[in-house]
């Protein structure tokens, strides 16, 4: 996948930073450098026959960071594929295999990458029973993929109802044991032993970066919205995927917080935008968002203040006092944190409570429920979400789009729907 194509949609699209915001440009460049370095690490591992982990889950990046184990994330590669010009071809591929067209395009991308041999050949695979169901099916397909028949595999089993962690220690222990077992699995197949002191260092560093992530999120509550919502994505990618537990990430986060804080202090909003309407996009960011959001900003002063991937639920620090405490708090963070896992494996009440909290915390004026075609769980609760929005006093709009396939509903159509909605609710 060409790197230039990858960047489109991943990085903030604003090119209107004024002179005082050169630091954001630098942050962008540094993030690109991390992506490039990550790709290089994987390439080197493949070329030199080094241990390489294929990761079909979002959780516990601290573990393989502590093992210094090269790895690729299926999720990242799927996302990159969907943001490339080849996306329609990639999405349509799974239909040729006879798979349902109602499956999430993101999973379809995984099917394409797997069946065309585009995932780098790993020396071990780790998956997890985390949402969505299509993702679990993708893992099953990867498990049965013949060229990988002899590659050792480990599946982390995540219990449902993880929002009850605060009152149910058994679930935490169960997941902690799974994570520990996955560590032993990695140790066995990479030929390295986990140095607990180093794991502790990585976790401490990860805690520092998460603290800054939280600060960054708090700053985004400011009016006007200080930065494009797309900044939530590199933050997520660095902390959860690319460079967890590394001092460089903490340093990058510190610069981001400082620069955002400066904008808040100066009461600066996004360059060239009059922040009149604050929207919550309660789903993943569309790959075609660059065609939609700048237009909404320009024409209506409608700024997306928060979306699902960029939102960090309550901060859960890793307790590094003992090895057992590390694994248990990694389990807590894993289950409470990553997007979709939180929305798909907790109770509906958590989903609705999060919505209310985001609306209140970020002074949201209107909620967009994108209803991504692949997100059956969120589509099933649209009526409830609309009711909750009404009770909270904010209007909501259901779209029913495909956040990765613009052919399903074009950015123009979405723009028109949102435009009509804003007019009907007297915002425009």
């Amino acid at each position: 996948m060409e790197q230039e194509k990858i960047k489109e949609g991943v990085l903030p699209h604003d090119s209107e930073w004024n002179d005082s915001d050169k630091v954001f440009d630098q942050l962008n460049k540094d993030f690109e450098a991390v992506i490039a370095k990550d790709i290089l690490t994987v390439t080197e591992a493949v070329q030199n026959g080094k241990p390489l982990l294929g990761f079909f889950t979002q959780g516990t990046p601290e573990i393989f960071a502590a093992l210094d184990l090269p790895r690729w994330f299926a999720a990242t590669m799927q996302l990159m594929a969907l943001r490339s010009e080849e996306a329609p071809k990639i999405i349509d591929f799974s239909a040729q295999l006879g798979l349902t067209t109602f499956m999430c395009s993101y999973v379809k991308a995984g099917v394409f990458l797997l069946q065309t041999g585009s995932f780098p050949t790993p020396t071990m695979l780790i998956g997890a029973t985390e949402p969505c169901d299509g993702n679990v099916a993708l893992w099953q397909m990867a498990s049965e993929y013949r060229p990988w028949a002899n590659i050792p595999k480990f599946l982390i089993d995540i219990p449902y109802g993880m929002d009850k962690l605060d009152i149910d220690d058994a679930r935490v222990r169960y997941l902690a044991e799974q994570i520990k077992a996955s560590t032993s699995f990695m140790e066995e197949h990479c030929g390295r032993k986990m140095d607990i002191d180093h794991l502790k260092e990585v976790c401490d560093e990860s805690n520092r970066a998460r603290q800054l992530w939280w600060e960054f999120q708090e700053l985004r509550r400011a009016v006007p919205t200080p930065v494009s919502f797309l900044w939530g994505q590199p933050v997520y990618a660095l902390n959860q995927v690319l460079a967890c537990g590394k001092p460089e990430t903490t340093e990058w986060m510190q610069r981001l917080v400082d620069a955002t804080e400066k904008r808040v202090k100066e009461r600066k909003g996004i360059g060239g935008v009059t922040d009149k309407i604050r929207l919550l996009w309660y789903d993943l960011t569309p790959s075609w968002g660059h065609k939609l959001f700048p237009q909404l900003e320009k024409d209506f002063g409608a700024v997306v203040s928060m979306e699902m991937l960029g939102w960090m639920p309550p901060l859960t620090p890793i307790d590094t006092s003992t090895e057992e405490a590390i694994y248990e708090s990694l389990a807590k963070r894993y289950s409470i944190g990553p997007p979709m896992l939180r929305q798909g494996m907790a109770s509906l009440d958590t989903y609705c409570n999060d919505l209310v909290h985001i609306v209140n915390d970020f002074k949201i004026d209107a909620v967009i429920l994108p209803g991504h075609v692949g997100h059956k769980n969120t589509n099933a609760v649209v009526k409830i979400c609309s009711d909750v929005c009404r009770e909270t006093g904010v209007p909501s709009l259901f779209l029913g789009c495909d956040v990765y396939d613009e052919r399903y509903m074009t950015a123009n159509e979405v723009y028109e729907k949102i435009g009509r909605f804003l007019s009907a609710t007297n915002f425009a």
């Binding site: 013949r146 708090e218 700053l219 509550r221 309550p314 009440d349 909290h357 915390d361």
Partner: protein, 261 residues
């Protein structure tokens, strides 16, 4: 009897236990009328009073960060007589005594009103985040945790737990939920003391979940399905699928994967 009545007694018992352990405890009495509560507050309250984000350099004190520990919950009762209306209890340091510190934080609101029932439970719960309607005060977290920042400006104007309690009481009473009596306990003494409060919070959380679940069920939704395979009515279908897969594996004829590759 309201489901939380017994926990109101438990929280009062907790305060007595803290007293017995020799903790510094201060008790303030706020007036009962809304007008008097509002009078003399050092900062503004209401939806427009919030000063928004409080930056690190503007922060006088952080309360209840994940490192320090936090516990926050609201108890309600349909019997206002159970509530010592206007009583503000502070266990530990006050705001002015803890400049630039990051203190553990416990906050329990106990509210009473003849009209308070399970139907109003959710709305009452959301009130604990009413702190965002106070000038120079920013509530930062959710769930059982409440992470709060107080600004230097607000501290300079004399915000303390007494005035904070009054401000929150005024917000509670002004709300249309029919709250007649409010009592509050703040804890900043130690993480251990906050964790002790958390033991009560977890029990309260269990009851709260049940009320919410029943409320959703009344509206026709089951928000908290049973995920135990043994209790599932479709268990036989899954068992059949597993049997077929096992047979296929044994026969070495996994047709689906052959076709896909």
């Amino acid at each position: 009897v309201s489901p939380f009545d017994i926990y109101i007694q438990k929280v009062n018992g907790y305060v007595e236990e803290m007293r017995a352990r020799g903790r510094q405890i201060r008790v303030f009495q706020a007036p009962d009328s809304l007008k008097q509560l509002r009078e003399g507050l050092p900062v503004r309250i209401g939806p427009e009073a919030s000063t928004g984000v409080i930056l690190r350099e503007e922060t006088f004190i952080d309360l209840g960060s994940p490192e320090s520990g936090s516990s926050a919950f609201v108890l309600w009762t349909g019997k206002p007589s159970l509530i010592k209306d206007g009583r503000i209890t502070l266990i530990g340091q006050d705001i002015a005594e803890a400049r630039d510190k990051n203190l553990p934080f416990g906050q329990v609101f106990m509210v009473g009103g003849m009209g308070l029932t399970n139907e109003k439970h959710r709305a009452v719960q959301y009130l604990q985040f009413a702190g965002n309607r106070i000038e120079g005060y920013m509530a930062r977290c959710s769930g059982l945790n409440l992470w709060v920042r107080v600004s230097k400006d607000a501290a300079g104007k004399g915000v303390c737990f007494e005035s904070l309690g009054k401000a929150l009481m005024a917000i509670y009473k002004a709300d249309s939920l029919g709250i007649e009596a409010v009592q509050v306990v703040f804890v900043t003494s130690s993480r251990e003391d906050v964790e002790l409060l958390n033991d009560i919070a977890k029990q309260v959380q269990n009851i709260s979940r049940e009320i919410v679940r029943a409320d959703w069920q009344n509206r026709g939704y089951d928000v908290d399905c049973v995920f135990d395979c043994r209790a599932c009515e479709n268990r036989t279908a899954c068992d059949d699928i597993r049997r077929v897969l096992r047979r296929q594996e044994n026969d070495g004829k996994n047709e689906s994967s052959c076709r896909l590759q």
